[in-house]
């Protein structure tokens, strides 16, 4: 509002100008809002509100459910399920963390390990490959790029089974490597890295460094990687989230529960009711909440990066 007033004050009496100026200022403040009727603004808000409730309510239910003991969980049916009863959060937490000799903590560490190491290595490999394809004119780079894009379309699950056969031949099934190695190679990351490198790394800078006598490896680590930090963060983030959410591959590859991921462990807990009659519902609910929190914090903290990654991926 104050911006609007000053713009009016500053502008000389010429009749047409101030109106246009006011418009453009107002437009900055509310991108499309100006010129809209009150009714359509209300409609917009109502629509947003509905989708907001749809998006958030289930998670809200999960949060309230995690604070209840199993009896209240079943007793609070209907809308009462959306509010708290006896506050049992700490007790549930204790149960999750101590059940089966604290296996839940083990799964959490495993998941962090698989996702962290997998995303780190795959980001490095992708940066190198993306840089190579972007900045060097070697034969076959077009075909290489074609292959990479084509793999987006090859369903991951489809490769999973042949991969299982191969890994069992190599004796890798039920080892940490069976989950780690596949996460190292990510075609989408290479694609993103190539796109970033095209736009962010100037050829002149590379040439200058070479004139100064820097070797190719040094150019890559000291110049390219540094310039592409924010792109690399996006690639890392998307790979991390992808690994954290992966289920099919660990399900196939891992037998011993000490190597499981959170998703696998929660699935096994949820299945106990059908298999053995042990109802672990409140453990699963608490575990679900716990396994979501780190990811949510991580994503919110790095929101800047993954938003740019998504935008970039969609434009090309």
């Amino acid at each position: 509002m104050s911006a609007l007033k000053t713009s009016l004050k500053e502008s000389p009496p010429a009749p047409a100008r101030p109106v246009r100026k006011r418009r453009s200022r107002a437009a900055e403040d509310m991108p499309v809002g100006h010129g809209q009727t009150r009714r359509s603004q209300l409609f917009t808000l109502a629509g947003l509100g509905l989708f907001f409730i749809y998006s958030v309510a289930p998670v809200w239910w999960l949060i309230t459910a995690a604070t209840k003991n199993q009896r209240d969980l079943y007793a609070d049916s209907g809308l009462r399920g959306l509010w708290f009863s006896d506050f049992n959060f700490i007790e549930n937490l204790r149960q999750v963390l101590t059940y089966d000799d604290g296996i839940f903590a083990r799964w959490t560490l495993n998941t962090v390990f698989y996702s962290g190491v997998g995303a780190l290595v795959s980001t490095l490999i992708a940066l190198a490959a993306g840089y190579g394809i972007s900045k060097f004119q070697f034969r076959g780079r077009r075909i290489a790029m074609g292959f990479i894009v084509a793999t987006f379309l090859v369903p991951g699950m489809l490769l999973a089974f042949p991969l299982y056969l191969l890994f069992s031949m190599l004796g890798l099934v039920d080892t940490v490597w069976a989950v780690l190695i596949p996460s190292f190679i990510n075609a989408f990351s290479v694609y993103l890295a190539k796109v970033y490198c095209d736009s962010a790394v100037p050829d002149e800078l590379l040439d200058a460094a070479r004139v100064d006598g820097a070797g190719e490896v040094r150019v890559f680590f000291q110049i390219v990687v540094r310039i592409m930090t924010s792109g690399a963060a996006t690639i890392f983030l998307l790979a991390f989230v992808g690994s954290w959410n992966s289920f099919f591959l660990p399900l196939m590859m891992l037998r011993g529960s000490d190597k499981w991921t959170l998703a696998l462990g929660l699935y096994a807990w949820a299945g106990k009711r059908a298999e053995t009659g042990t109802d672990l519902t409140s453990l699963v609910i608490m575990g679900s909440l716990l396994s979501t929190i780190p990811l949510a914090i991580f994503m919110i903290a790095m929101a800047r990066f993954w938003r740019s990654g998504v935008t970039l991926g969609s434009i090309k």
Binding site: A27, A65, A126, A128, F136, A144, P155, L266, A274
Partner: protein
């Protein structure tokens, strides 16, 4: 390019030869950067695919005569594929997921688009708040989302069934006729946030002057959304649709979890991947599972191709 510009400066003697030499060396160095990726690519994509195709040509059979000594693997050519094409259960599962994708993808796109358009029409301060809310489902891991919704659907622990009961709707989310609706809802919930973000990002790149121009001409907000914004996000919409179809045909996690609560409805051949998984790990039919995988890949390729053709013809931009 860059190499030819650089070489003459550093060169003294025979410029032409050295430049060529230098260029070749640079090409090799560049290619070297891609080696780790392509090595892994061959190991994790090409070899498994080839291996699956090879395996699909064999069959394991009980060793004749002795009976106790185990099995022999024999070459059977395309017998496994003939079996796949005659396998009613597999194709029933396939038609299930195809129909499901056919119905669900437009719904997903429509909802994500509506969310993105609403967000685009909101005031800036509201945008931040709502966008964060819309992204909450994306932060929930897929398995957790499925588990959570199963509890919410459950008449014992969830709020949904009793509330619907109060307003006179007798809903059983695990009944066979409701099952795809239940699964569809949870997939929509889990994916709209990300899809919305892609579409919204594209909307932000529409030049704002277009809207002002349209308004001056007297266009309503509806008209602007329909005639300017939606055509502009056609590309991202097509992309999201394509990825969704590919994902839905391979649907596995959700049916697997629903199988825990209603095993009689969600049979072990409910979807193609579930069928393959059970063939491979429960029935130990590796060779048959490999053939099924190859056929599924071909079907997905064909569906993507048809979709691509249709999306391109419609958009043509």
């Amino acid at each position: 390019m860059s190499s030819t510009g650089l070489a003459p400066d550093t060169d003294v003697g025979t410029p032409g030869r050295r430049t060529r030499h230098w260029t070749t060396a640079m090409k090799w160095k560049g290619a070297a950067f891609t080696v780790p990726f392509f090595l892994g690519f061959v190991l994790l994509f090409i070899i498994p695919l080839g291996y699956a195709m090879w395996q699909s040509l064999f069959r394991e059979q009980a060793a004749g005569g002795l009976g106790l000594t185990g099995t022999v693997t024999e070459f059977v050519g395309f017998d496994n594929f003939a079996r796949v094409f005659a396998d009613g259960k597999f194709w029933l599962g396939m038609s299930r997921v195809l129909i499901f994708a056919f119905i669900l993808v437009p719904v997903m796109l429509a909802i994500s688009l509506a969310m993105a358009l609403l967000l685009d029409a909101a005031r800036r301060r509201a945008v931040r708040f709502f966008r964060l809310g819309f992204l909450v489902p994306y932060m929930v891991p897929g398995i957790v989302a499925a588990l959570m919704w199963i509890y919410i659907y459950s008449p014992r622990s969830g709020p949904l069934t009793p509330v619907l009961d109060d307003i006179g709707i007798d809903a059983d989310f695990f009944a066979s006729e409701m099952l795809w609706v239940s699964i569809g809802n949870l997939i929509v919930w889990n994916t709209i946030g990300f899809n919305m973000l892609i579409i919204y990002a594209a909307l932000l790149s529409v030049p704002r002057e277009l809207f002002d121009a349209a308004r001056v001409d007297g266009a309503s907000e509806w008209r602007i959304a329909w005639s300017i914004k939606i055509p502009h996000v056609r590309g991202p919409l097509a992309l999201v649709g394509m990825l969704s179809i590919i994902g839905l045909v391979q649907i596995f996690n959700e049916p697997l979890l629903f199988r825990q609560v209603s095993p009689e409805t969600v049979t072990k051949d409910f979807t193609p991947i579930l069928f393959i998984y059970n063939q491979a790990f429960a029935a130990n039919n590796y060779h048959y599972a490999a053939a099924l995988s190859v056929v599924l890949a071909l079907v997905i390729g064909a569906v993507s191709f048809v979709y691509y053709k249709i999306a391109n013809r419609g958009g043509n931009a």
